[in-house]
Amino acid sequence: MSALSVLGKPPPLWSTAVLAMLFVPAVWAHEPVFGAGVGLTAAGAGVAAGLLVAVLARVFRMDGWTVTAVAVAGYLLGSGPAALRETTLWGFVPTWQTLQYAVVQAVMSWKDLLTLAPPAMAYTGPAVLPWLCGLVCALLAGLITLRLGRPVLGTAPIAVFGLIGIAWGRSGYDPPRWPVLVWLLAVFVWWAWCSNWQRIGAGQDVLVGRGAATRAETGAQTPNHRSVVHLGRQLLGGVLALAVVSAATLPIIYGVVAFPGRTVLRDLIEPPLDLHEFPSPLSSFRHYTTDLKDQVIVAVSSLPEGARVRLAVMDSYNGVVFGMSNATASTTEGSYARAGRKLLAEPWAGEGAAMTATIRTSGLTGPWVPTLGIPDTLEFKGDNAVSLQDNLYANRWAAAALTTGDLSGRAEYELHAVVPPPRTDGQLRGLDTAVLGRSEITVVPEGVSDLARSVTARSQTQLDRVRAVEKYLSGRGFFSNTDQSMPSHRADRLARMIDGEQMIGDDEQYAALMALMLRSMNIPARVVMGLHQEGQDGSAADLHGYDMHAWVEVEFEQVGWVAFDPTPPRDQVPETSTSKPRSEPRPQVLQPPEPPQDPVDLPLSVTERSVDNLEAEAAQIQWRIVFLVGGLLLALLSPLLMICWIKWLRTHKRRKATDPALAASGSWDEVVDFAVDAGVRVPLNLTRQESAWLLQAGWDESAGKARKWIVSGEELPTVVALARIADIAAYSDQQITPELAKSAWRYADDLRKEHRAGNLLARTRRALSLRSLRRAGRQRRAMVRGRP
């Protein structure tokens, strides 16, 4: 028999210390990614807590539920000092926030630790991973070793803990390898000792050599065979085994493979693309149209007539900038997904002319890759082609692309695309706009919706409305990209633009305003930024900063997105009279009444907004956490609530039985179940009388006082009298009156009240005890079995 398969006597309690020693290298593996001892503290505390729970479980012989409960309680209470010190009072008293973090981070920390940049000590939360993991692994190791008596299996959680530490560790970090060797050695010694101990414990000491011979001759049963001879052989065998194992593992550890550094999970995962990381391209619109006015930004080898180069598509507005909404679970369509070469997942279904163009860009900021029409394939050229190509993301919904590779403003690539034909108003007039799907307009500037309503008051169709807005803006507005018109499309900027005597702005403001106006009427609209120029004829074209435009696209059913230009012609400049008063009081110019109205203003307000936003988000998250924790609690409590409910239902059914005989015998069943839940063993084969006397005997001791009832000349305790009534109800041909049933229930209630003594814990245990329910199940099964 293999010694390892012996499910033997669990090792002694002090072997917890050995387990703790074996955990040391595994704990150490969690440190590098955190730094400053944070990982060490969390992992060490977790291991200590887990082992402590395991020891308690063994000493107090806890059952599975209790161990789980203790472990969960330990986890929640200990997570403050061990892993979430920032959230605690005085470094150890857990707060509400600590518990929130403990619950949420039990799930999130696995992802968080991988995706944030080490050292992770700077963040609150990820340390929950080593703490939780250490607790669970140590608890498992402890339970398997100390209670199941499987020390070999018990070392597995230690290894798992270490491996998790390595896998979630820092990339590019090459730790010393000797601890692994030492650990393996220690593990082997520990296994050897354990199996030997268990063999002796099981009386299966292996007898060899002289000891065996003596035993065979004398037939002695004395345990003195653990002689020096044996020890020597075992030692020799152990050393040999170690030598063999080392010979096998050393090359792997030290490198026939000689792996370069370590590959950790961090290297394999990539953080999801967060579009909020990138500044909105619209905010650099003024930069392109003024600073880079005459610079060639995009050179296209062949630009079809009417085609527009698209730089970015923006559909969300937070009161500060138009940006891209991140994909949510409900709208996977609008997400930027890694594309490779092929941007379109399936061939373009709509009509359009295929085209190929080589595009060169320079001076662009941000990750945006200019495209044309519906881009099909896109292939980078040049030195950094690989990195650009690898990090190319495409958004089919927006028909736009971006790359997180090193763009540095210039790139060259070949683009295959389909350019849909332009739509005439005739084609669009009968069509309805699509249903507004994504809407991330969180702030609508004052007056926008009123303006939209008044402008479109007389429009009949959706197209009319869109055209009305477009015409209103381009007709009534004035174009300016000088000091008269501030760059920015913040909510206050747009509100002032509407309120002002003259509407002044450039593409940035007009496109944003139109999109917001349309969206306020639930027309799906988005802002597109890109380049186009007049007089395109399909030949090569150099597009300058001057050709940068922003326009609005509206989605029509069947047709898709159609472009509209709300920007007034560039020669429609504002009347100078408005600029006159501005120039008169010179000193005032230096300190305009408006606070800094240049881009300087932007970051300031962004922070303001984002603080508000964060608060709003925080509130949202708080609620989410409350719901999550509440739901979790409810889920945890639901079995208990279920038990209470079933019991209540049972009592109700018995008490309200229409047949008085059933109600009367139910009162007795109620008393029995009450006693059973309180821990009295009432065997199924006892009759009511026998059970009653049994209960009476038990209760006499505890309660001492018992009223007596005179039933047919006999003096009986209440329980027995109640059993009598139930017996009459069950077995006699007498008619039970409802009054008798009622009084039986009164007795039963009195009995329960009388014997409800005990503290809150005892009461709770009784209320939640499954004994009576299990007994009912046994009874049903026994009745089925017992009845041939």
Binding site: A661, L662, S665, D669, P683, L684, N685, L686, T687, R688, Q689, E690, S712, G713, D727, I728, A729, A730, Y731, S732, D733, Q734, Q779, A782, M783, G786, R787, P788
Partner: protein, 321 residues
């Protein structure tokens, strides 16, 4: 006419009177006395298995005295013939006719002492009377008296030269019990009263035989719920399926149980039978009917254990209807 609970109370009173009366003759033997009376009212026969000198005859005499009936005793021996029990036709010279001389069986209470000493032929003759309640001699059938009860005894010690009753015949006894030796204190009381050679002479008739027969008829109508009947059936089934048993409780055994339980319940003033009654009577009514598998018997199994097992395995009925 069903047996009402008022009648049950009345019956219980009479029953206690009888039992108390009998216990004047048999000190501190209330349980066997009640069992014997139950057997009487259930219309069955009692088998006593006891050592000699434990009061078997006293019980029979006391019972006979109490119901003001006749009592006879047959001491069984190996050379006994059936006619020694039933009686014979003898030619009367004066009357010039055959005259029937009734045997000892023509009494209300018949004590068949050491029944296992008689030859099987004689045993059978007795058992036939027990079963049929009638005697046929030379083609003439005569009914025995009512109530009629045989109290047979078996000596459990001496087994040499005996003919143990076969299982089929044991089944005809409604109950088997034993009196056993009295306690120390009771023994002293017994010895103190030893001056009177027969204590049953002190008894008076509490009930007439006619009344006893009438009561036996009404008490047999005591109510038994189907749940309790089901319990009896389940218990009987459980004895049959027990691993150590080669022959379990027969249908006759189950019927006997219900008969006894009716009386037993009424004797406690109850107009209905409880599972408790069945439990109390399971030993006396069924133990002698169970035949233990020889292999199991060799390893120490006995009928009492089978019944205990059945009682602990079969749940008591709890639900009505």
């Amino acid at each position: 006419m069903p047996f009402s609970s008022a009648e049950a109370t009345l019956f219980a009173g009479r029953f206690s009177e009888l039992a108390n009366n009998m216990s004047i003759a048999l000190l501190d033997k209330m349980h066997p006395i009640r069992l014997a009376l139950t057997t009487l009212f259930a219309g069955g026969h009692l088998l006593l298995e006891d050592a000699p000198g434990t009061g078997k005859t006293a019980l029979a005499r006391a019972l006979a005295k109490t119901i003001a009936g006749t009592h006879s005793r047959i001491q069984f021996t190996p050379d006994m013939l059936p006619s020694d029990i039933t009686g014979v036709n003898m030619y009367d010279q004066k009357q010039r006719d055959w005259v029937f001389h009734p045997g000892p069986i023509f009494a209300e209470i018949v004590l068949a002492d050491e029944i296992n000493r008689a030859s099987p032929k004689t045993q059978s003759a007795l058992l036939e009377v027990m079963g049929e309640g009638q005697v046929t001699v030379d083609g003439v059938t005569r009914r025995v008296r009512q109530p009629f009860m045989v109290i047979a005894t078996q000596n459990s010690i001496e087994q040499a030269g005996t003919y143990p009753l076969p299982e089929a015949q044991l089944d005809r006894f409604l109950m088997k019990t034993s009196l056993g030796y009295p306690d120390y204190e009771v023994m002293i009381d017994v010895l103190a009263g030893a001056a009177a050679p027969d204590r049953s002479e002190l008894l008076h008739g509490v009930m007439t035989t006619a009344e006893a027969a009438g009561v036996a008829r009404t008490v047999g109508m005591n109510y038994v719920d189907r749940a309790v009947l089901g319990y009896v059936a389940a218990l009987a089934e459980a004895t049959r399926t027990d691993d150590t048993v080669s022959l379990g409780v027969s249908t006759r055994g189950a019927i006997g149980m219900v008969r006894c339980a009716r009386v037993w319940a009424a004797a406690q003033g109850r107009g209905f039978v409880l599972p408790d009654d069945v439990k109390e009577l399971a030993g006396p009514v069924w133990e002698h009917r169970i035949v233990i598998d020889p292999d199991a018997a060799f390893s120490g199994a006995d009928a009492a254990a089978v019944i205990t097992r059945a009682l602990s395995n079969v749940p008591t009925p709890v639900l009505k209807r």
